[in-house]
């Protein structure tokens, strides 16, 4: 480093220019001005529509019936007593539950394998996350191509493996069509679980396992004693997030089965969609959406708030 030179005296630069009235006000209210645009947008396109739909739920808003009379809870009861609505809720619960459970187990298994480094790991990692960036519609389309008779090769392959002819209608026969929907969901979202759980696994200090090994603990015991407790919060986070997304299942249903045959693959979202946009019973649809919303809100408030404390990021 150069030797410093003698001190040269400089004129004082003074304070910068005074702020105009507007600039002064803007600077004082800086924090509010920054959040304003986003908040206004969310108010306009989320809060306002929600309130609007709440109002619609209580009146008679139907393209086919004139007038907007107040009807109290009639729309809500129509939804609650509609057998298709109840079926769609049940189906949603089953499909989401099973899919998420499979995604979790599979994701965990793959994460446990991918924790170690090995040649080609980077490439495999890139391949494994691909399904996450694909539109669910396309996922549905891809599996339709595989499963739809007579074009899809699935029955042929199964036939070749099992040694006898397979003639399953994967998109038309129950219970196979539910399996198809679950497989499509698992295909797309297992990487979600996998990525999050892997992040959790790599944050566990390796010396815990080394100490356990020295103590003579086997891999299975180490898993339950070390891995699971450390991973538990991450597991809960992944499960909650995934579940909250899974119950909204719509895109794959739309493409793969169109809700059919009949109403056998109506999920909650799909049911509400048909009521609102094909039958145009708008009040009923908004009432149903509100019920669905309340349920989701409960889960979000109970679980997500705890998982994502804003200050402790």
């Amino acid at each position: 480093m150069q030797k410093a030179g003698t001190i040269i005296h400089m004129a004082a630069a003074g304070a910068p220019h005074r702020l105009s009235r507007f600039a002064d006000w803007a600077d004082r209210n800086f924090r509010w001005l920054l959040v304003a645009p986003a908040v206004l947008l969310i108010l306009a396109l989320s809060v306002y529509p929600l309130l609007f739909s709440l109002v619609v739920s209580f009146i008679n808003y139907d393209f086919q019936v004139p007038g907007h009379a107040f009807v109290g809870l009639k729309n809500f009861s129509m939804v609650v007593f509609d057998p298709v609505a109840r079926w769609s809720l049940l189906l949603t619960a089953i499909l989401s539950g099973v899919s998420v459970a499979i995604e979790f187990v599979l994701g965990l298994a793959v994460a446990l394998i991918m924790v170690r480094s090995f040649p080609g790991r980077g490439l495999i990692m890139s391949i494994l996350i691909v399904p996450l960036f694909i539109s669910p519609v396309i996922v549905g389309q891809a599996w339709t191509l595989l499963l739809q008779r007579p074009f899809g090769p699935t029955n042929y392959i199964l036939g070749a493996l099992l040694g006898r002819e397979v003639t399953i209608g994967w998109l038309t026969e129950s219970p196979w069509l539910y399996i198809s929907l679950i497989v499509a969901d698992v295909w797309q979202w297992t990487p979600f679980m996998f990525v999050i759980l892997l992040a959790g696994l790599t944050s566990i200090p390796p010396n815990l396992y080394e100490a356990a090994e020295l103590d003579g603990v086997n891999a299975w015991q180490a898993f339950w004693a070390i891995t699971v407790p450390h991973l538990a919060p991450m597991m809960l986070l992944a499960l909650t997030f995934r579940l909250l997304d899974a119950i909204r299942m719509f895109d794959t249903i739309f493409i793969m089965t169109g809700g059919g045959p009949g109403t056998s693959t109506y999920t909650a979202s799909f049911y509400l969609y048909t009521v609102g946009f094909t039958q145009f019973h708008l009040s009923q649809a908004t009432a149903g959406s509100w019920l669905f919303l309340i349920f989701t809100a409960l889960v979000v408030t109970l679980l997500v708030r705890r998982l994502l404390k804003p200050e402790t990021t």
Binding site: V130, L145, Q148, A219, L244, T313
Partner: protein, 282 residues
Amino acid sequence: MAAVRPARRPRRSAVPLLRFLLLGFFLLFVLWPLYWMFNTSVKPSDDYLAMPPVWFPDAPTLVHYWAAMFTYRGLEGLINSLIVSLSATALSALLGTLMAYSLARYNTGGQHLSFWVLSQRFLPPIGIILPVFLIYRQIGLYDTHIGLIIAYTVFTLPVSVWMMFAYFRGMPRSMEEAALVDGCTRWEAFWRVAVPLAAPGIVAAAVFAFIACWTEFFFALLLTSRTAFTLPTVFRAFVGFQGAQYGEAAALAIVSLVPSIALGILAQKHLVRGLTLGAVRG
């Protein structure tokens, strides 16, 4: 950055074989539909119903791509998707960064505001699609690019805000403070110092917002029609019809997924942060 565990010498021979098999199976599972889709997209229609199935055509053709783009108006959908996604991404990244900075540095609105924005992420679209549809029809935003752009901006805001919030929280304040003492107003310190430093985070948030817009179906289906329809909605033309459209559907799918996959792989370093709204560092 967390450490990947070093490879260990296996002590029993069965377990690593199991691992290898499971991983191999899963890889196959992931690649299989993609392969079949690509295969279908270049397969001449004569080979569609061939038994045994044609694993790769002798005479691959691009005819389906052409049909998908023009006969089925896939190209238009693609252009619309591009316009809408880029605009919504830019808006979302901008507004999200502004809000995130305020939340991170000033704790604006405390817990309540941040939780409120966050919870928007979990709002089921079915909950607001009906009123938004009605409102849009009323004010003339139905089937317009702008209408969809606004909707997509709101839809991607929570993730943008939360990713940037985590990013700003990780940045030391001293540079912004130095800027304030040096002569900047709060806005200048933000725009000239904090934002350039947060550029990698902003890019990552933008990539995820783009992918979300690019792959979105539900809003596009119900808020657009013949003018502003996006690429995913074109697939509705292939629903139900038990006909010879397999190639076109596959071709369109391939065209659509290439950009989003490419972006996703480029941004994979930030993937965990994006998926968990910044709660977990990758």
